[in-house]
């Protein structure tokens, strides 16, 4: 069942990449996955609508798995945030499927994506907690509150860089070390400095 689910989702993603969210049907997904329509309905009883929500959730999770792998080797809070923001920003800009869907049918994508972003934020916050513990938070700073605040800001910057050039390691280091972490952590960092 898990295998079938994965196969149908991958096939659905391929269809969305080709035709978009609105034009992808259960038949298309079934044909692409080489399973029957009945099989798709068995895994996704809600049909097309459930399938589309599931594929957005799945693609989002895939993105976070890649992000997680990217920051795995980081040894400090600063490094994990810098690598994370840069990688996530690049991935979003270079994600052709995401960019095309955002151009042509954002109304189909955004309700699900916004809902998913709440889970993502919790995931980022939980991921940051041990790094914050290791780094040590400033006096009077609540660890959970800081993690939630940082996760919100990471999400905000990765999706909309605003005035910052997030391809420039120096700017990202300034954003993370000065703007975002100055109030959160205790004293200057002991790590080797930003990635070059």
């Amino acid at each position: 069942m898990a295998d079938t689910r994965q196969r149908v989702l991958e096939a659905t993603y391929a269809c969305v990449a080709r035709w978009g969210l609105a034009k992808t049907s259960v038949e298309d997904a079934a044909r692409e996955a080489k399973v029957s329509r009945a099989t798709v309905y068995r895994v996704f009883p809600g049909g097309r609508e459930e399938l589309i929500s599931a594929v957005v959730a799945w693609a989002t999770l895939e993105f976070f798995i890649r992000l997680y792998e990217q920051v795995q080797g980081a040894t400090s809070l600063e490094q994990v945030m810098e690598r994370g923001i840069m990688f996530a920003h690049r991935s979003i800009v270079e994600d052709e499927v995401l960019q095309r869907v955002m151009q042509t049918e954002p109304e189909k994508l955004l309700p699900t994506l916004t809902f998913e972003s709440i889970r993502i934020r919790q995931g980022i916050a939980e991921f940051l907690v041990p790094y914050l513990e290791q780094r040590g938070v400033a006096q009077g700073v609540n660890l959970k509150e800081a993690a939630d605040f940082l996760a919100r800001m990471v999400l905000s910057y990765m999706s909309a860089p605003g005035r910052w050039d997030l391809d420039d390691p120096d700017q990202v280091a300034q954003l993370v070390r000065a703007e975002l972490l100055a109030g959160v952590v205790a004293g200057p960092g002991q790590d080797a400095g930003p990635d070059r």
Binding site: P106, E107, T114, A138, E145, S159, E179, A182
Partner: protein
């Protein structure tokens, strides 16, 4: 979002441009009636007839003021609500005596207005696609640029225009984040909680950013007291109409306009 009603929900012009348009009583009446309709039925079920009835004017009057009909009215509603928000923000920021007051006041004002907006609440609940399009990726960048372009000159009383731009953008991100996904622990409509957030996370960040750019520590009190104080009456007088940039910031606007114009060019 392409065309149609969805397209018209975009703020099509800069708030400054909207605000300088003379608003006839009928125009305001129609816009306020539309807001009331949206709060009850959303965009898809609101017709020109509904709007005319609620405004107490004829259909012909609605079309005379808004020849484009329903879509044009909806576009004007977004522009007007943005203008009203910026106008209220201008008053709050203009009155602030120091940077902390400006940040806390601005964040609370914006959060309260967003939270208490009945039409917006209806749309978020029933037609989320109408709202979310403005809050994601490139459109979010556009909104950040518009909001920070308006609020930065007020903050430039306490820091360089470059820094003010960044801080204004940061504050906008904070408002948006907690508006889209409210937190049970942090309610930004509450001044005490907002002050805690600003003092804990934002002010140290502003000081550190400043230190990273220049060797002297940032002065949180208004510099050049007196000549630099904005004319509060001018700002206050703008509450119902046109928000004015605090006159005090004008001499720095020339420096400020450079990165802003570049940014504008990159996003439009």
């Amino acid at each position: 979002m392409a065309g149609g009603v969805a397209g018209s929900m975009l703020p099509s012009v800069e708030p400054e441009a909207t605000l300088s348009r003379p608003s006839s009583p009928n125009r305001v009446r129609i816009i306020d009636a539309t807001l009331a309709c949206l709060a009850l039925h959303g965009t898809s079920k609101t017709t020109v007839d509904d709007i005319a009835r609620r405004a107490g004017v004829s259909r012909a009057t609605v079309y005379r003021v808004f020849p484009g009909g329903r879509d044009e009215v909806l576009g004007a509603v977004v522009d007007t609500e943005m203008a009203r928000l910026f106008s209220a923000l201008g008053v709050r920021l203009g009155e602030a005596g120091d940077l902390t007051e400006a940040l806390v006041g601005g964040i609370v004002e914006a959060s309260t207005r967003v939270r208490g907006h009945a039409a917006l609440a209806y749309l978020v609940e029933h037609e989320p696609e109408m709202v979310l399009g403005h809050l994601a990726f490139d459109e979010s960048d556009r909104l950040l640029a518009t909001a920070s372009r308006f609020t930065a000159p007020f903050l430039a009383r306490w820091m360089s225009p470059m820094e003010a731009g960044r801080v204004a953008e940061w504050a906008t991100r904070i408002v948006l984040s907690y508006a889209i996904a409210p937190s049970s622990e942090m309610d930004l409509t509450q001044p005490a909680q907002t002050a805690h957030l600003v003092e804990t996370f934002v002010l140290p960040g502003i000081r550190a950013l400043h230190a990273a750019d220049s060797p002297t520590a940032i002065d949180i009190t208004p510099f050049e007291q007196g000549c630099d104080q904005p004319d509060r009456h001018a700002v206050r007088g703008a509450a119902g109409g046109r928000p004015t940039t605090p006159p005090a910031a004008h001499h720095r606007l020339s420096e400020y306009s450079n990165p802003v114009e570049q940014y504008k060019g990159a996003t439009t």
